[in-house]
Amino acid sequence: MIAGLGLLVGIFLGLLLQPDVPLWLEPYLPIAVVAALDAVFGALRAFLDGIFDDRVFVVSFLSNVLIAALIVYLGDKLGVGGQLSTGVVVVLGIRIFANVAAIRRHLLHA
């Protein structure tokens, strides 16, 4: 219940404040968001599996975001930023689909 409220509050704050994304963050924010989504779906799946642990969630969430940003940063330094971002998004996308499939099986039994 509180979790859902948290999500709504976040969205509401974003709409309300409409902050500008700082320039240094611009290349990383989209990847970070996708990585965070991956962590959230992973957590939801773990919850439905009955193996959810909030400490694990926090750690996986933060590490996901950091590693994603790091990979993109490294890619930029190596001159393959664009390609690497695409790669990260593809991998995370696959994971999200897998997690969502598991969640769907739990909730809809299908």
């Binding site: 948290g6 999500l7 974003g14 709409l15 968001v33 909030d54």
Partner: protein
């Protein structure tokens, strides 16, 4: 067998659960996700397409734009060239057409295929004794031509052109298979004074007709408007062919 709660049950339980530490943590992180997503979506919508683009991509974009504009410039140059050459063509076509038209005018007057009008002379030859024949008339026509007559007509019925033929007949002359009777009226378009001079000199046309043994009478009148209405059908050359100029 103890019943394992299904995922759905767990979700429902969690929704009804009072506040716990774990829930607050999850809520905080979800808030961050929601916030970040919304911010990113809006930043994306606001769409300065190029803010936040990597330097490498920008360079590539710039390159492709430069290449595109170069191509466009080449295309412009090519089209301009085409336009100017077309314009030249049109000009020279027009000039050629104009020239051809002028030539056609000149030639059609010479060939007698169109009526003509202009200043000139009217020569009337009276022949009371029947002494005027083709010798005298031919002589007169040659003198007129020599003096630059551009169109000649006899008795309002025969147009004198390059193919015109003359022969003597009963009670007059036959010109182009047409029997004519005196008096002969020769109308010629050209410079009136020059034409008159051409006929009137010692041993010339007038002289020849008015003297014995011909004994005719000639009057020459300069007029501003000679109308020559007789025309000839243009004839196709059957044997002669123009020689192609190199």
């Amino acid at each position: 067998m103890p019943e394992e709660p299904s995922g759905r049950d767990r979700l429902l339980t969690a929704l009804k659960q009072p506040v716990s530490r774990g829930q607050v943590t999850v809520a905080a992180l979800l808030a961050v996700v929601g916030f970040a997503s919304v911010v990113q979506v809006q930043a994306n919508d606001r769409d300065d397409d190029y803010a936040g683009t990597r330097q490498q991509d920008l360079v590539q974009l710039l390159d492709s734009l430069a290449a595109a504009s170069e191509r466009a410039e080449l295309e412009i140059a090519r089209l301009e060239q085409t336009r100017s050459s077309l314009r030249n063509d049109t000009n020279s076509n027009n000039a050629a057409l104009e020239q051809a038209r002028q030539q056609a005018n000149v030639l059609s007057i010479l060939a007698g295929t169109v009526p003509a009008v202009g200043s000139g002379v009217v020569v009337t030859v009276q022949d009371p004794t029947g002494g005027v024949g083709i010798d005298q008339l031919l002589n007169g026509l040659e003198e007129l031509r020599d003096a630059g007559a551009e169109a000649i007509e006899i008795n309002n019925s025969v147009r004198v052109v390059a193919q015109t033929s003359l022969s003597d007949g009963e009670g007059g002359v036959i010109i182009d298979d047409q029997q004519l009777a005196p008096p002969y009226v020769i109308e010629a378009i050209g410079e009136p004074h020059t034409l008159e001079q051409a006929l009137d000199f010692t041993g010339g046309f007038i002289d020849e007709i008015e003297q014995r043994p011909v004994g005719g009478e000639v009057s020459v009148k300069q007029v501003d408007t000679v109308e020559i209405a007789t025309v000839r059908e243009p004839t196709e050359a059957e044997y002669a062919e123009p020689v192609e100029e190199e």
